[in-house]
Symmetry: C2
Subunit: 354 residues, 2 copies
């Protein structure tokens, strides 16, 4: 690899002049024709600055690390990484991946990152959970993504779970549904509480009664399918809001068994917009998309803004390559920042084109 020394020799100038030009600090310091010459030689030699040497001098590495549990195990997991990497890249940062992998001790991994002089950390979970950021990171810049601390220590972003329940339910109400069932999750999770609360809110706003018998909490497999079938048999709702797409599938199974048509006899909406389900089912399942990409994107922008100031999102220095949900700016003082989620309309709700 060519170094500044090589360029200096070939352009017959000193390294410091080269440094000025390479770092765009030549205006008013270096004669334009010399600067031009240097740039040209740099191109010829395919010069790439040695990031290590630069960092050694500057004390900053322009790297961030993405720490997470179970990169792999959750649908759409990768989107958070994708969004974070996308923002980091646009802002000139490289991103390390550190997998916390369940219960394994990650202190040594974090130690390695600290040794590298990583400038900031994204601490992410793949399901919206309460978390503790490892104490080793207390002197570093940290942002929490898709998770929540119990007390406000680090800035963070998480989906607006109440909004999800509210918007999905309202979407069914607006489509004409009057008896809306909720197929919940049987674990005590932030998402479950929030979505149920939003469901109640939307019913209330519309003047519809809240009916306990329209609600179940299930896991997966045969018991879940049977519970869903029993619920539908007994209560005959005209709309179903499912905790997620996987649970919404049981409504399809029920419909197939009973010759009902989803999207006309019965409306269904899920959460996740999980491609493998939503674009495979017939008719395609309308679903609320969790803004994974957007949260990752926000997280990287946020931590980089903490490192070097500014608001990359407000200043349009980073542009998302994808977004269904609107990405909040980084300068808000909400804690945690809640991001509203978008409904991806397909064909499982009355009135949608099919």
């Amino acid at each position: 690899m060519a170094t500044m020394k090589d360029i200096a020799a070939k352009a017959r100038v000193s390294v410091s002049t080269v440094s000025l030009v390479i770092n765009h600090r030549d205006k008013g310091h270096v004669k334009p024709e010399i600067a031009e010459k240097i740039r040209q030689v740099a191109d010829e030699l395919e010069y790439h600055p040695d990031a290590m040497a630069r960092s050694l001098r500057s004390g900053r590495t322009r790297t961030i690390a993405f720490i997470s549990d179970q990169v792999a195990t959750t649908p759409h997991a990768g989107e958070i990484i994708h969004g974070a990497q996308d923002a980091a890249r646009q802002l000139g940062y490289m991103m390390f991946i550190i997998d916390a992998d369940g219960e394994r001790n990650i202190d040594s991994d974090i130690g390695q990152a600290l040794g590298w002089g990583v400038d900031g950390y994204i601490y992410a979970k793949f399901a919206n959970r309460y978390v503790h950021v490892p104490p080793m990171l207390e002197d570093s810049q940290v942002v929490v993504v898709n998770a929540q601390e119990r007390t406000a220590i680090h800035p963070g972003i998480a989906p607006d779970e109440v909004g999800i329940g509210h918007d999905a339910t309202k979407y069914l109400i607006d489509a004409g549904c009057r008896r809306i069932a909720y197929i919940g999750c049987d674990e005590p999770a932030i998402a479950q509480f929030g979505r149920l609360q939003g469901y109640r809110q939307a019913l209330e706003e519309a003047g519809l009664p809240f009916d306990e018998s329209l609600i179940i909490r299930v896991s997966y497999g045969r018991p879940a399918l049977e519970a869903v079938c029993a619920l539908l048999d007994q209560t005959h709702p005209d709309g179903v809001f499912a905790f997620n797409d996987a649970r919404a599938v049981y409504v399809y199974d029920y419909a197939f068994k009973h010759g009902l048509t989803i999207g006309s006899d019965l409306s269904v909406i899920g959460v996740d917009n999980h491609e493998v389900i939503c674009d495979t089912t017939v008719p395609a399942l309308t679903s609320v998309e969790l803004p994974h990409y957007e949260m990752g994107f926000w997280g990287a922008c946020k931590v980089i803004s903490m490192i070097e100031g500014g608001d990359p999102i407000a200043e349009h220095r980073a542009t998302p390559s994808y977004h269904a949900a609107t990405i909040p700016t980084v300068s808000g003082d909400e804690w945690p920042t809640l991001i509203p989620c978008a409904i991806i309309a397909k064909q499982s709700v009355v009135g949608e084109v099919s």
Copy 2:
């Protein structure tokens, strides 16, 4: 952060002595009591070596970069990353993520990585495709994962697609199926050709006839569902091998409509072992798992072995935290290395417990 200089001052020795001790090269060079003193001071000061400074000197960074298209878009995408990071971590390497994100030009990202002095690269795809490794990487250590070059330039690993078709079909045959349909993919892909070939092979081995009318190639949505229903109506197979789990779902839909029971009236096997489908359907879908974690793990071990020699897998210096498929050693000379895939038995094939 404390530096060697600080330690040297406090222990009243020179930095080079400290360096020797810190790097465990003190045997026979440094008096044990002095070494002990230095270690103690290092502990007191919570010394962590500055990885950057070290790399600047040694020319090696102990980092690799994972370059891939669309981290996010494919089911199980993250598993490859997970496996690679897991191996890298155990071998003392940190891993950068670089997302190629479709058609965007990644040369500048690779340039950045080259500037960092990244020691090696994993070039991965999330669907088994033919690829060209970017020419910029020609002087670097590169391993291709879940993809294939048309000519042998870099070592690589990919799923044994023929084996998948063969094993899945044989699994159905062994369970007693005699008329086995194949629901294929309508795109010309390595996976489609390979799995179909394996399907034919297994039939032949079992002395069963190959019947074109038992084969369809479909995409998703209503046309796919209708094609599957038509196939099953006309040919009444007793087993179905589906290109992937998503396509296998249409067989379930058909069964629900016609009151058939999957796993007794009709056996189905898919590919992907996609959690969201296989553990959600009733009965749970038996599926061939693509060894994403394993391929990522192998890829990191391979590229690190190219950097520093040895065979981390054979020498048990890296241990996978998960594997359904057996991970080949890194020293084989097969090109590309084909990794056999495991069948994850659940309840959708005759004779499985339910």
